[in-house]
Amino acid sequence: MLYRTAGQFKTSYRADQALFPIRQDAFLLGLILVCAWVVFPLTASEFTFQTILTPILIYSLAALGLNILTGFAGQLSLGTGAFMGVGAYACYKMITLMPWMNPIIAILLSGVFSAGVGVLFGIPSLRIKGFYLAIATLAAQFFLVWLFEKWAWLYNYNASGAIQVPNLDMFGFYVSGPQASSMTQYYVVLTIVSLLTYLAINLTRGNLGRTWKATRDMDIAAELIGINLMKSKLTAFAVSSYIVGVAGALFVFMWRGAAEPNLFDIPLSFRVLFIAIIGGLGSIMGNYLGAILIVGLPVVLNTVPGWLGIHVESALLEHLNIMIVGSLIIFFLIIEPHGLNQLWRLIREKLIIWPFPH
């Protein structure tokens, strides 16, 4: 009865199109927001901030960006890591060239650069499809990482070739660099992630979202009913890369503190792809669920033996970890190929009709 929808009537299309036509959903969201904004920050330890809360948010955002491209617009991308890199390096250059710049503005602007690069590498999608398109994104992936390595201007000619996040302050608080506190950074990340999620929800449920989904489901038919495929695909690349770029900037500025080109190599891309797919392609919430699983799981796995008081060699633990993550990926794909989001939806459907079986 918790999820009873009886009695909730819609009297206008506008109400029917509201974000949460079902009251319980709105309530649930409120609860989550309260947790994210108030409860977690009050209770979390430094360790939790650094290894769970902040990375989950950042990875969710990256996955959200990828999901727009792959889940909504149907264009497979394996180059997310590199686009995150573009965002991070753009932010680094802006901050070092214009130290007066507000860091949050810089982070939001850095997405513009990755959007540009994304569109550039998205152009082949007009001709190339499916797995073949993956090659275009992989070309971006490998070329960009190579460029981060070779173009010394990008990292201000540092000897090590790595970038180091400076201490930046805003209204008297350090928001990035070694002086910044994890909680401040968490709030910055949370704000940006919430904002972009809200915008992404609107985009995906509106006209543009439908255009993307149509392109994904059947591009020929989409074109024949009047969709400009070029525009549809390129906007998807742009919006997606923008979000991914911002996620990249957050990744380095609000969390990692330093970055070497390698960081943005293919394992990062795969990790984000995992999150998007395990969470559910074509969903927004899935990205959060996926990130919780993929980011949180190894942390938990590492802690479990400690709780149980079993001593496992850390290398063995790591091997087991990889095996478990691999198996879980397969496991989740098998039980619900459409991801955790779909799983949640089924549960919700069951709750709505509960206690009746059909």
Binding site: T51, E149, A315, E318
Partner: protein, 406 residues
């Protein structure tokens, strides 16, 4: 209770091959102290590993996980070092990165919390060049030296110093990067070496790259005696790959295996015989280097205990220990480790110790000593260290500097 000294290991991932013997050595040494002496100064050492697989991300997780109680962090990768470096200022935990990390960390005034004894990569570069010059730096004029390096912060470390030396002594430096994905297939790099015909090839390699480079060198018939690696490129298993054909290959090293050292006898009784070790070849260069690394940490702990008059030292106290290391010939003798590492000492403004190193040569079966102790050209390196560390501090302003150092 005890002293919690975690180690951020990589026994997995692409660099596991070189990581494993090092980690084994480190662990066995600490086990031995616990078994034989009940720890250091009577306090047992809790030497725990946290596996990173050489991934920076996992490294940070390990750092965060362990930092609450840890007296030290041993990041074991240049990437992780760079990332935790700024954090240690606020967290006040010393980084111990023996023979790796960021060379300017030698400047203790700027990098209050970072230590890379006994020698830095820049030391290595300087000593290798000296060895090539066979004592006569003037002879380098007009020569061509190729730097075959991993295209990664680690591989790029020696470049500033080598470039400066090239300018100073008139040799030509050719940079030949090896991508992480090309480590196993370096034919392009070696073709390029054949094209450039350098007089010497210096290798800054790691993990699978070493084996790849050495096999390729054999294949292309590059003269082995003109091929020199940094200390992470002198792993026995890499050379076993080619065996006899690798004869003449050299690697600079600040540690030297001493199969007959009394320490090994102690290890045998207290560790191996109790079945507490996983080590395969206890005479290998890397395994014994692992022993030395733990010895440095143990000595620092002992020193800190001595300075602060307490057994259970904390991270800040360990820093004092690390700043006042004095690994003298005599002390090594006491430890049963004579000849395993050159004597060195650290101070407030010298966090490296600049011990110097030997050249080891592959004789077809194992590495043997091939030179006297070489010393880095401190006068050449020091200004560079000062310059780069100042740059770092400026880029990361506000960066607290230890004014109490002179």
């Amino acid at each position: 209770e005890g002293i919690f000294a975690p180690n951020l290991t990589y026994r997995t991932g692409p660099f596991a091959a070189t990581g494993i013997p090092l980690m084994d050595g480190q662990k066995d040494y600490m086990t031995m102290l616990n078994e034989r002496d009940g720890g250091i100064g009577g306090v047992p050492i809790m030497f725990e590993e946290c596996e990173t697989g050489y991934s920076t991300e996992k490294g940070v997780e390990c750092y965060e996980r362990t930092k609450a109680n840890a007296v030290v962090t041993q990041p074991w990768s240049t990437g992780i070092t760079l990332q935790v470096l700024p954090k240690t200022n606020t967290d006040m935990i010393p980084i111990l990165a023996p023979g790796y990390g960021f060379s300017p960390m030698a400047n203790g005034k700027v990098f209050q919390w970072a230590f890379n004894p006994p020698a830095s990569y820049w030391d290595a570069a300087s000593m290798i060049v000296q060895d090539i010059a066979a004592g006569d730096l003037g002879s380098l004029n007009g020569k061509k030296i190729a730097l075959l390096h991993l295209d990664h912060p680690f591989g790029k470390e020696p470049i500033p110093v080598l470039e400066a030396m090239a300018a100073e002594y008139g040799f030509e430096l050719v940079l030949i990067p090896v991508g992480l994905k090309e480590m196993q297939n370096q034919s392009a790099q070696w073709l390029q070496i054949r094209k450039e015909r350098p007089d010497n090839v210096v290798m800054w390699g790691w993990g699978a790259m070493n084996a790849g480079a050495i096999t390729e060198a054999v294949k292309t018939k590059y003269p082995m005696d003109q091929f020199i690696g940094v200390w992470w490129s002198g792993h026995d298993a890499d050379l076993k790959q080619v065996g006899e054909a690798g004869k003449g290959y050299k690697s600079i090293s600040w540690s030297m295996p001493q199969p007959d050292a009394p320490l090994l006898a102690d290890l045998k009784t207290h560790v191996y015989d109790k079945g507490m070790s996983e080590a395969e070849d206890t005479n290998a260069v890397f395994y014994q280097r692992g022993l030395v690394i733990s010895m440095i940490l143990a000595e620092a702990i002992a020193k800190a205990q001595e300075i602060h008059g307490t057994g259970e030292i904390n991270a800040a106290q360990l820093r004092d220990g690390l700043e006042n290391l004095d690994i003298s010939e005599a002390r090594l003798e006491e430890l049963g480790m004579s000849g395993m590492v050159p004597p060195f000492s650290t101070s407030c403004d010298n966090h490296t110790g600049h011990s110097g190193a030997w050249m080891l040569e592959w004789d077809g079966e194992k590495f043997v000593q091939a030179s006297d102790l070489l010393m880095a050209d401190a006068a050449f390196i020091a200004p560079l260290e000062a310059e780069k560390s100042a740059e770092y501090a400026e880029a990361n302003a506000p960066w607290p500097v230890n004014e109490s150092c002179n």
